[in-house]
Symmetry: D3
Subunit: 283 residues, 6 copies
């Protein structure tokens, strides 16, 4: 997506957070022109993500990056992720920021992949999607990691689709009324999705013209009921069915079997497994 | 720590991330002057954190906050965290950013508390500390959540203490040499900590004048050996012993029993339990 | 859309641009505590836009706003847009920035309205839409002004829909191939639009599964041919037809009569009529 | 003026506006390492402006620029403005931002040139000047485009000269009093200009010591009267006479004949002709 | 000049510099809701400057300001500058930033006043002016402090007047050529100043049309010679004579007696006397 | 400490301050592609500081830096600090910002060195330390300059150590109580310093467990008394003794003889001698 130059802004802000007055330890121990080799090594298994976005930035710190693995590659414990060469003061100053990003983002990709593989076995037509439950500040990278893990990025933000949630419905009065309003006022370029809590509401939304229906916090059985009801009304092919709320690696296959198009979960972004990595300098 | 006005900067950036062109759905469904009541409700148990920092900001959006629980209060499923009143366009625009922050930060506090309670039972003198393994961008709030959970904030950044790690030692040549260099060059106001991998290195560091010793990736048995060796050399009271690396809720009591002063773990910041919350509007 | 607090950032940057070292003239002529009344008055006819977003910010400068007209109201030459009261140093410092914004944005709304009214007479089903040809830096406000003028905001940015343009097709090889790739890789939440140059390409795009077809730089006759071809293949109801390129107030009715769903034009954002306004202080 | 590195800041902000989550279409269609050639081509006649400032920035996106025309060169429909080579993801991500800037800024230069040429025929001593009626956010570039078009940049901001306007006079009490105050309090390095509405006020301002007199919203006949009155009082050579307000390409020659030194107009910045351009990739 | 809202940006950045993770000491000692009274007290004599700009910002931190002295008031050791009331965490967090600003800026005003008073005794027509030798980051406030001290602000920046220095002359070839070029190309609104090193060069500059002449690094005798030469050529009333370079409190009267219009010195901004102040809380 | 890339942000902001609309004089006199050689030359004696941080940034402006002296080198009047080559428009645009930084920061280093050398003669065990009395905005560079001058950087900010000052003690109730609170609540990684006003308070602080004691505004005799009292109670080796308040080059040796560990002074940062430099272009 956006190239590293645009992330530079964020990276500098993150670096100032981790080193408002520099890497004090390294600054007092070494001379400015002391160069070192170093490598980033995986300490656990996982799927590497966003490595290009992050390591490209290092050239701005006079750090040369070599033999970098690519986003999407599988890591085993002990794998070299990339080799670096540059001033020890630069390498150690950026170390923690780089590792924190790579570990978390690769964790997002890895966890996404676990969900994707789980559902693939029972229903290859279901996609795993991210939500907007993401720790603020690095959404672009997190969504990219989801994609690398085989997931669907879903809405990037509140600005790129209409999603009528229970709160909207409560204030507008009814699902039908809210969808009709949205269809009248939304741009032709944006889809209209509606959050519903049962099969009957799903039908109401579909009849009112929703493009996507999100069943929130329902049982797999209710998903099935919804799919059946839509088929019955000849609406199944016209609407996309998303399931969300309380999805875990344990129950995701039950939901997948129920026949939705999309299963979205905050597990992959709010509490992903972390892919452990460390940076080692070489004498 | 820093009051909400300083966080405003961050909050606006996070909000732009979640709504670069506004909350499209809400914007097309409601008039500007449509006011609503709403409340934030806990959907799982946990320890509330940083709620003042985050909710104070909402006054900038014409949102009034009432009946807010305080940071440090325990939440049960169904508890009202706070009541809000303001323009529906403001309330729903900030909803996700506010919830993402509260859920993650309360999760950090909750998970810290779990570690703190675990060790308290076996060794009330041990403190649980955070590391710098934190998702970039919100470190100030995360460290604050750790404190709310009863943990020790440790270094805020690379700039507030000397921490000589294995990479530094490798390049300088020996622990002794590195500590001596640091003692000569560091400001009198900053402590000197050294990462070591066994009891003998700990002794070397202590003899060279380290204020704190961090045993990284060692067994509880090695921690004990280190403590004994320091006692033997009459150095135990002069150095603080920290243990780090691979600490989990499962093994933390074993480490606590071994008699260190500090146990630090990235589990509380990189993969905390999440305290689920949602925002509900009232008609 | 986003409330004024989020625009504050932009407004301060714009103000620094117009007054990097303050309003020098006013600073040397008046005392800090000299208050004045003033009003903004329309000097030409037009449709007022974004007045709330802009005037709300003035409270940050101790300027009280009264009797403000609302976005969407028609202005005649001589109409009072709003009355202000505050320190003369504040009022005159923000004057030009406020007027430049109101004049340009109201111009966008006014010009949009002219196109909307022109097509309404010949084809009430056609919508006028904006493009991304907008002077950088104030897109959120410009899109809002388009909406106020009765237009469709279309994509806010490159991130909120798939729009396969001629450049993409040239590099991928064919319209069909590009659409199929996009359908496989794009999120379910985003629509897929394709730019085409003739009726046959439109058919190819529709058959490949495009949601929206944009006829770029074609004659009204070609639009008709396209509509007919889609009807013939039973695809008219499934795809949205947009016309773009070279649309002016003079020829827009010809295009509207040809039966598309959307007519998009950069005229409303790149070279709108300007609604003249001035600020007058009262003794 | 300021070199491209200083604009980088602005450019990144504009790019985030157009691609908060990247160029979604291009990102899903192409691989990261897919390179392309492209060229920017003029689609209408005009005077090219600020091309160096804008295209220099592209090197930050790994885009190589070749065969670029220079600011100040005339463009004909079909002329190649510049050739680019780089990753397709970079080229298409920056496309719209680059074109929007070049089209608008070249439009400013072109429209300025039209006014300059119009007055040159009737009075070669008159200069065309810009005002501060400029869409906020890119004033530095707009003023530069005015200069490229042969215009006078006038005040860059409120901070670089004293300009006593009708609002100031109204509050101070009289033109004479305002000019005297300004002469006493302003720095020696800044000129003092006064806005007046007739020949008599111009005389009052000149006698009080104004360096520049701006006749605002007067007829060409009044300009003549003013010039005559100043000559009569032996003040013509000591004050610069500027005319402003309601100047168009149609009436500018009438004003030029009346003998002012400067004619300023917002037409060249608020509603310039646009120089159409597009970017075409080459297979 | 610019009101406090525009400075808020700067103040927050300065505060983050002094407290990237908050005021740690105060945070651990006190509760959030612990309020205190405090006062700022002068510890040396001086002229107070910019106190409104700085203290106005404190309302953003819930700090109430009372009994504040005004900019331009004389301070004696022990004088109360202002009384504050607010949360102790806010008061002590902003303390150092506020004091550093007030002490330095009041020092600038005080030192300016000393120069102003020194020259007033020997030549009441001479003005003391600031230069651009100012520690980066707070120029707006520094220039304001100069004005409060009775000085002339001179150019705010490189953008608000033409100042042809020796480096320009060296590259253009001659003073005459440089002035003529500038007169042809500069906007009518900006004055043209030329740096010269002797009376003859001053004459050359004046004859070429310079508005201001700056004698740089010359003796008082040379200033006199220059003034005489200009009188002799009937140019004295048409050009402003500035003297700069090596001016101190000791020699400034010698220069003043030589009859220039302006004496500029970096002493008032680069190494002003500091007005000592402290903040005391009241139990 | 932080490499130049992180300072780029600050430098661009400082440059915008000095040239919001570019270097107007140079822009109108020269063509874009006019290159020049130039050199920075010392006009007074001093210790060069931070030259790498500042000059490294110039490559971003196409300015090549050669033969640069290093931070820590002594300058004599007439010494070439560095040679530059690049577009005259870049070189002269950055000139003043670069010189202002180098002159002030080298001044800080030079003044620090003067204090360091003064105390070395009478007591080689005493260190000179900086305080937080620093003009806001460039603290990182100022602290670095202190280090280059041989000084101790002390706390970088409010966030990197506990320093209990008289205001804290007044509100908590007693020194003992404040120190005990801090010991209980502060992280193990941060030292605890206490400001006291006499020997007895120093003893109270030491007994309560303070790591560092700062005698504020006391006589050299009181410092001696304090040292003696601590020796008497066997605490001298366990606490660091800092003296602060009213220290000047004249009295610093008296304080040094009294036997503290640290003497801190704001003289080196708030009113350092300035090392004069200028930039000269070569034809």
């Amino acid at each position: 997506m956006i190239t590293s130059i645009v992330l530079l802004d964020d990276f500098l802000r993150w670096l100032r957070e981790d080193a408002p007055f520099g890497d004090y330890t390294t600054d007092i121990l070494f001379e400015d022109d002391f160069e070192t080799n170093a490598y980033i090594v995986a300490k656990s298994r996982g799927l590497l993500a966003c490595v290009e976005d992050i390591l490209n930035i290092l050239t701005n710190f006079n750090i040369e990056v070599k033999d970098s693995k690519k986003s999407g590659e599988l890591l085993n414990n002990g794998d070299i992720v990339a080799r670096l060469r540059g001033p020890v003061k630069s390498v150690l100053m950026v170390e923690r920021t780089v590792l924190n990003l790579l570990m978390y983002l690769s964790g997002v990709a890895t966890t996404t992949r676990m969900f994707v593989e789980a559902v693939r076995k029972v229903n290859p037509n279901v996609k795993i999607a991210a939500t907007r439950k993401i720790i603020p500040g690095l959404r672009y990278l997190v969504k990219k990691a989801v994609k690398i893990g085989g997931g669907d990025t879903h809405r990037f933000s509140l600005s790129d689709a209409v999603l009528i949630k229970d709160n909207h419905v409560r204030l507008v009065g009814s699902i039908r009324k809210a969808v009709e309003l949205a269809r009248r006022r939304a741009s032709f370029i944006h889809k209209i999705e509606v959050e519903v809590s049962c099969a009957e509401e799903a039908l109401e939304a579909a009849l009112a013209g929703a493009d996507v229906i999100m069943l929130d916090n329902v049982t797999p059985r209710e998903v099935e009921r919804c799919v059946d009801l839509l088929v019955e009304h000849n609406l199944r092919s016209r609407v996309i069915v998303e399931v969300s709320g309380g999805i875990t690696l344990e129950n995701v296959t039950d939901y997948a079997k129920a026949g939705p198009d999309i299963i979205s979960t905050s597990q992959i972004t709010m509490r992903p497994y972390i892919v452990d990595m460390s940076l080692e300098v070489e004498k």
